[in-house]
């Protein structure tokens, strides 16, 4: 029962990641790409937690937490760069 649920959930997150990737490639603007990348990070966090449940290991939490952290920092840095690069220009 749980195995099946995890499998379905993994498929959902995988599909979500593909959709995010499509938006990342498609754009059209830089802001869309940043948003797509940020969503990919969040979905990857979910994927790692799911993997942890699937393999019954708790070691994946640290990885999930780190991915979530990096995603946020990356998004902020990219947005700040785009926002500030203009002021300097």
């Amino acid at each position: 029962m749980l195995k099946l649920a995890v499998a379905i959930a993994l498929a959902c997150i995988g599909a979500a990641l593909l959709l995010n990737f499509w938006r990342l490639v498609r754009g059209p603007g830089p802001a869309d790409r940043i948003l797509a990348l940020d969503t990919m990070y969040v979905n990857t966090t979910a994927l790692l937690v799911l993997l942890g449940i699937h393999l019954n290991r708790t070691v994946y939490f640290e990885a999930a937490l780190l991915i979530a952290l990096m995603g946020f920092v990356g998004t902020v840095a990219l947005c700040k760069y785009l926002l500030r690069g203009d002021i300097i220009e």
Partner: protein, 101 residues
């Protein structure tokens, strides 16, 4: 019983995460796309993390509370990311001369 609840939360969470990404992929402009990831995906990961808490608390090694950290983190950072992306979008639009505001 607990296993069923875990499975339920997993499926709800994964469904919301997928809906958020569908919104990101199919809505026509940046500001509408923002709504999917900030709300649905955030709740989606919340659901999956609740499932994880239930699952690992069921393993007989005490209550697993690790996941609360990730949940809190995602819930506090998602609006900030959305705000920054929206600002970036407004800024770039203004620079390109389309008056959105």
């Amino acid at each position: 019983m607990l296993e069923m609840l875990t499975a339920l939360f997993l499926l709800i969470g994964a469904a919301f995460a997928l809906i958020g990404s569908v919104g990101l992929a199919r809505l026509p402009d940046l500001f509408m796309r923002l709504h999917g990831p900030t709300k649905a995906t955030t709740l989606g990961i919340g659901g999956i993390l609740i499932a994880s808490i239930l699952h690992f608390s069921d393993q007989g090694q005490g209550v697993s509370l690790h996941e609360i950290l990730i949940t809190l983190f995602v819930f506090t950072t998602a609006p900030i990311s959305a705000y920054l992306v929206a600002r970036t979008g407004l800024h770039l639009d203004a620079r390109n001369g389309d008056n959105v505001d």
